[in-house]
Symmetry: C2
């Protein structure tokens, strides 16, 4: 750190104003000769969104300007930042020469801007900005998970059309869109190209992992843990997208496209949130030497022709690295033929982690790096709305004679084989609980068994089940 800070001290003051890109110089390709006068590759970017992430990007690029010039031979100018209200004070300093504007047209129609960084969020105006930028031949960097999950196909199609016949391909990068600070996008785009992914399992929502960690470690109830998550800013005012598993599902869709090349409609992915997880589940999880995590999982069947996926709370055994990921941290575990098992752990959100991923994208583009956004294409892979797994099943019951017999018969009828059965000492014979774990079986069999169990006179309420990782 020391040396770089020193470099900054020597030359940072003048870095930005010197960075003005010559008009008409567009995206410099890797092999394009740098202007002889400076020996630097110029790049002119505009940021759409001046909030938490946008501010972080400006800060980091300002702090790193001397390094980027000196070591990466690249001179980045931030010429414009587009915001909703240009008069509102900002918590970051604008680089010299940078204009703040509330007119997006001034960016889209500016031929000197070669890269647009979209960090405004939302799926309407942001969509327009991204598609029009691509069509105008501008590279796009975005952190917009919701938009990519919603319009992945359209974005890909637009990009293909724009790049057809182009030599210097327009670049689309979105490292920050999934798991903020974890470079999982680039990793799937480049380090698994020679490999075949067989399963992805991820803790891909920080809010729910924070809640579950506090229920596991601090013994909090779900309601109290959610309250704490809200107080610390990990949960939105309406936490449905997080606790309902929908945010994780959007990310899972993007990861599935990257890892398997399959494009699945989000709504087709079975999704269960964490609202049904109780303190009791953590007691039993401890007995089973593990914990409970909300995971997004996608996996190939053994034949490699069908893929299933779900978002659900899962029982995670202690020996799996994912069980040790606590707080708002994210982690993605990738199983594959050559690399066997890899895990990538980091911050899933926050100003600087997210901004850092955008900056990595910006630097890659400005250095002339090219990338194929979704390199894998699996036209013959079939998505199946079901999956096989071992299961954890928690059953609330009135104690009476014949329960074990009923249970054995129903499970046997439904083809569900019991692996273990656990029951804490019964305190109230009219409202007790036990937990069954099963051998690997299709979720459909478990569902059928649960319906039949729920119809007995000793079962209370709905049965809770979750996959075992």
């Amino acid at each position: 750190m020391a040396a770089r800070l020193l470099l900054l001290a020597l030359s940072c003051a003048s870095a930005w104003q010197m960075g003005t890109a010559p008009m008409g110089v567009r995206r410099p390709a890797a092999s394009a000769p740098a202007p002889a006068t400076m020996g630097l590759r110029p790049a002119n970017i505009a940021i759409v969104g001046g909030g938490t992430v946008g501010g972080g990007i400006v800060e980091i690029l300002s702090r790193k300007a001397a390094f980027v010039r000196g070591q990466l031979n690249t001179d980045i100018t931030i010429s414009k930042v587009c915001v909703r209200d240009a008069s509102k004070p900002r918590d970051f300093q604008l680089p010299e020469g940078c204009t703040i504007t509330d007119e997006i047209e001034s960016i889209l129609s500016d031929d000197s801007v070669d890269t647009v960084v979209e960090v405004m969020g939302g799926t309407t105006l942001a969509k327009d900005v991204i598609l029009r930028s691509l069509k105008a031949g501008k590279n796009v960097v975005t952190a917009n998970k919701a938009l990519i999950a919603q319009d992945l196909t359209l974005i890909q199609k637009t990009l293909d059309e724009v790049n057809a016949g182009r030599e210097d391909k327009v670049q689309f990068r979105f490292e920050a869109a999934v798991c903020g600070g974890i470079p999982i996008i680039r990793t799937l785009q480049s380090d698994f190209l020679g490999d075949d992914v067989t399963q992805i399992s991820g803790i891909i929502n920080g809010c729910t992992n924070f809640i579950l960690s506090n229920m596991a470690g601090g013994g909090l109830t779900y309601a109290d843990a959610l309250k704490e998550a809200s107080a610390l800013g990990y949960a939105e005012a309406d936490p449905t997208l997080d606790v309902g598993g929908f945010d994780a599902r959007s990310k899972l869709r993007i990861l599935m496209k990257l890892a398997f090349g399959i494009d699945v409609d989000e709504d087709e992915i079975p999704c269960r949130g964490i609202t049904e997880v109780t303190s009791t589940d953590f007691e039993y999880a401890k007995l089973l030497v593990g914990t409970v995590k909300l995971l997004g999982v996608a996996k190939l069947d053994k034949g490699g022709k069908k893929i299933s996926a779900f978002v659900s709370p899962c029982f995670v055994p202690t020996q799996n690295t994912l069980s040790s990921i606590s707080g708002a941290t994210n982690a993605v575990q990738v199983s594959s033929t050559s690399l066997q098992q890899s895990v990538f752990v980091g911050q899933g959100a926050g100003r600087y982690p997210t901004a850092n991923s955008c900056v990595s994208d910006i630097l890659a583009i400005c250095q002339g790096q090219t990338s194929v956004p979704f390199p894998k294409e699996a036209s013959n892979l079939q998505f199946v709305n079901s999956f096989e797994s071992a299961f954890y099943i928690r059953i609330r019951f009135r104690d009476r004679v014949g329960i074990t017999f009923d249970l054995g018969q129903i499970f046997s009828d439904c083809g569900v084989s019991i692996y273990s059965m656990l029951q804490n000492p019964i305190k109230d014979r009219d409202d007790a609980m036990f937990v069954v774990t099963t051998d690997p079986v299709d979720v459909t069999n478990v569902k059928t068994a649960c319906v039949k169990l729920e119809a007995t006179d000793w079962c209370i309420g709905e049965i809770f089940y979750m996959p075992v990782l």
Copy 2:
């Protein structure tokens, strides 16, 4: 997987023979127009080394040929594989048109070969191959950790000289050189460019992690665990490089150059292996809620001007993700200003993990990706042969009056503050053991205290101490 396998079935048979690069076509830059007849970027590679990794590379590239052509628009020919004994049978099938040779000159002097993949190992002939390839303007992909750790400066200098004034920079990639299947090199080269790394802590030797995991989990002695590691092929015939920590030190040197931009002589990094770790340490580690791992650690001091590093067994608390990494798996934890804490976990060695990393490098080069091998440069960062940490200190002693007094006085004199003291029930008053953990302190103070303690009449043998992560 299904779809890709199908693609292969359709077109793989003819992939290789069609892949012959037109003579004289050198490394195709990203923006170079592909030959109009095929629309594909041609690439002609030669592999030096036909053993475990070389064979894995050939296998993967053969299996992925259709994908690489169809999705990455690149046509890779493996024109030559150079081995020591060309008549020896190989455990992989040569692609059609590929020559096996034992004459390295036939590759170095072949202008049509644009990329040389060095997987022969060793630091003499391999060095010659790499340097001469670079000088001949050929890209180099290597898995050679020992060579890079030894000749990092020379390789960098050669590359700089070769590339001075060149528009299409000769590429040097070495993803497989550190932590085989973990893309840690690329991650440090590209995802931490806008960030400032403050600490790296890694389980970067699979053999020792396998041994320590078995001592922890299986209760094996060091000798038995080493025997098992040897039987399974995790340890070399002479395991000194592994168990002595020297292999980890070579990797740490490379990681330090990438993460901090500092080039440290390997021999300057304090290095302690695992031979002194005993079953007793795992008993005490359990009491302290953690385990023992061999780590390579490099960290900046608070002022960011000094850097220290060491390889040593360390006490790792259970809540740290590194504590859950068992067997021959590797993991690198990176602490940084923006991303806070990231962990990258995967296979550290083996045919396919290592070959996969080489293939990722080959694909990146063949797609015209450029990279700066060592992007950070920290000319003002000072390496200090000392470091601050909390410590675990295990002391063997004869029980008598005054030990606690001596201990307190010596530690106090040496500026070492005791955080906790643990002692299992004493079975033999003439040969007992206790463990002290300290507050953070400079290792020099701990060393001085140990020397003084060893001089008392109750201390038996040498004291064992290790940092607490």
